[in-house]
Symmetry: C3
């Protein structure tokens, strides 16, 4: 077990700002996690709004404080809303984060993912498989029919891909795993919070991305915002696991833990380290 | 704290009828709350059915005992299903309730909302912002890009708008808030149940609307049905908050509380007042 | 109460294989239960993936270990994804299960259901009303506007329909109810696990179908796979009901129970009987 990080105060400050400002977080997310994502955003103090049609997503992204785009349960119609929102976000200066769910495994969403990167997200979060695939796609590799959302690669081995992807896309890239790694190509943040039961609850990666989006609304440095979002979900998962009897109660306890999270707990338990990238 | 209202017996009677009759409540609701809405309807004894496509929604609205239309996560395709359902409900005499989520903030759904009013809902439920916006739209005001579902106005200040909207639309209008206000333009019902943690759970307003819909199936007076629905959700939220540790457990406890709600609890705790409108 | 069935070991073995192999279960399910279905699949050890668009569902069904198609919240677009997935599953030898939610009650999905049967599912699971309706449709009866998902017929009375449907479709047919009955036209499995509170939670029938799909991935005999899936959900419901205070906590406890289910509990409590069909 590492000592509490001095960066923990940053996480506590960011959560204070979330609760004080209640930023409007526009989410276009997949059908599996709409409810849990909205509840997690509410639990940290943000104001979620799920607006996803091509008719509405563009105008809404202009007035929102941050935008989250998640490629799960992709359809052609949802892709139109995503393009409208990402394009408007870039125009209006709304920071946004991309969650490339199962990218590389399916040709259609791989194309959408690459197209969306042209709208310059501030942040990207995926598991090791997804980050490796997105990096390969940007480098011109074809999509390969794969098996989707379960990470088949170790997060550490994906760090090179994250670094390249950060340089090519201009976004801060988070590779989630037992230790989350966040890089902008120059700096590296590592978050060692979390619990092994978390992957047995559907969509906690999507929730992590949504919390990164919320932090982007109140923290201008996307590396720090990404690291704060990952620390908040990891901490909440740890606290929840202390009370949960399985994945059902973990999901419930996680929302309670996000809502109850306070500065002393963050300072005592956050495992966030910031380094220059070697 | 006010004394128990004599109208509390009305709420208990309505819940008895819900449980005895198990009305079929047809819901076209948003992607965030499909699960929680269906579960809340089951917990009060109704039989929920989520049928939303243009192909199926019309025929189904004819055989249902009530219809709920909620404008969240609007798309053009969902709008077609809503029109088919509302039109069929009016023809067949199926009572229906409209939840104008984020109306006024977005042009597309504002247009849909005004069009749906032509199918004459028996009831409308929204927060103060939504009721003010819908009243303004009916009066010819343009939609204004706003920030959506969080109420920016006090419920009391929206009462004038509710009264006008009731007169223009022919529907009973509920403005939800710390005290919910329900009016048909002549009478006023006020419901003082509820708990401050409830807005930290996504979609409890949508759940309230669904319960209003269920009550419309068993109570022919839409003002009483609306007031009963609001009292049921408010009471369940209060009871749930006594056991919850945060918004995650509140959502779970609320379903248990709706299921367990009994006549003595309703008589002791309902805070429903009926008045003529001054 | 019957004695523990010798078939209980089969259920325990199947669960062991699920946890060891973590099969990829491709689900196209309705909007109400995406989250609860994914979580139930994770809780038994499977790896769920919700991929439903016409663009992606076909290729994904080829690489998945099993496919689940559920007709709830049907739309024309979802039907296209279902056809693509079922067709690819048949070509690739991916076993699949059909849940004909509310079939017979609505003309559009009745047509889709009959068309999908041409892609030869290994298994079908529905309540008595749905199995009676699907059998009637295959026999040339018209769809009749009905009231949807609540079973209006006793499971036993639907056994004849199940037998005919099994013979006509080539699928193993499960009629769920207080006692679930599973038949391939020659053999009959009966599962007496479950709890009366379970129908007060939305979509547990859909969850049952998903677990049947997971079992199809690890058990080549579709009758045994179907019976194992029904036993797992029934047992988990019973265990959950011992701790739940209502339908909200039942849903949470059920996921915990699926996750915690172990061989001694299965051997002691499974109520699965296998017979030749008289």
């Amino acid at each position: 077990m590492t000592q509490p990080s001095p960066s923990a105060a940053l996480v506590a400050d960011t959560l204070d700002r979330l609760r004080a400002q209640g930023p409007l977080v526009h989410s276009i997310t997949n059908l599996v996690v709409t409810n849990s994502t909205a509840n997690a955003l509410l639990a940290v103090g943000a104001s979620p709004a799920m607006v996803e049609s091509a008719e509405e997503a563009g105008p809404f992204a202009r007035v929102a404080d941050a935008l989250v785009i998640n490629l799960g349960t992709m359809t052609a119609e949802r892709a139109r809303g995503m393009h409208a929102a990402a394009s408007a976000a870039r125009d209006a200066g709304t920071p946004w984060v991309l969650d490339p769910v199962a990218v590389g495994a399916l040709a259609f969403r791989s194309t959408v993912a690459v197209e969306l990167l042209a709208h310059r997200p501030q942040a990207i979060r995926g598991n090791a498989s997804e980050i490796l695939a997105l990096d390969a796609l940007l480098g011109g590799a074809p999509a390969i029919a794969g098996r989707g959302v379960d990470a088949a690669h170790d997060a550490a081995s994906a760090l090179d891909a994250a670094r390249r992807l950060a340089e090519r896309s201009g976004a801060v890239v988070t590779v989630s795993g037992p230790v989350d790694r966040v890089t902008d190509g120059r700096r590296l943040a590592e978050v060692a919070n979390g619990h092994p039961l978390m992957p047995r609850v559907t969509g906690l990666g999507c929730t992590a991305t949504a919390l990164v989006g919320a932090c982007l609304a109140v923290e201008p440095d996307p590396l720090l915002a990404s690291a704060c979002g990952m620390t908040l979900i990891g901490l909440a998962g740890e606290l929840a696991a202390e009370r949960a009897r399985g994945p059902g109660s973990l999901q419930v306890e996680l929302l309670d833990a996000l809502h109850r999270l306070d500065r002393p707990t963050i300072l005592a338990r956050a495992r966030l380290q910031l380094h220059p990238l070697a």
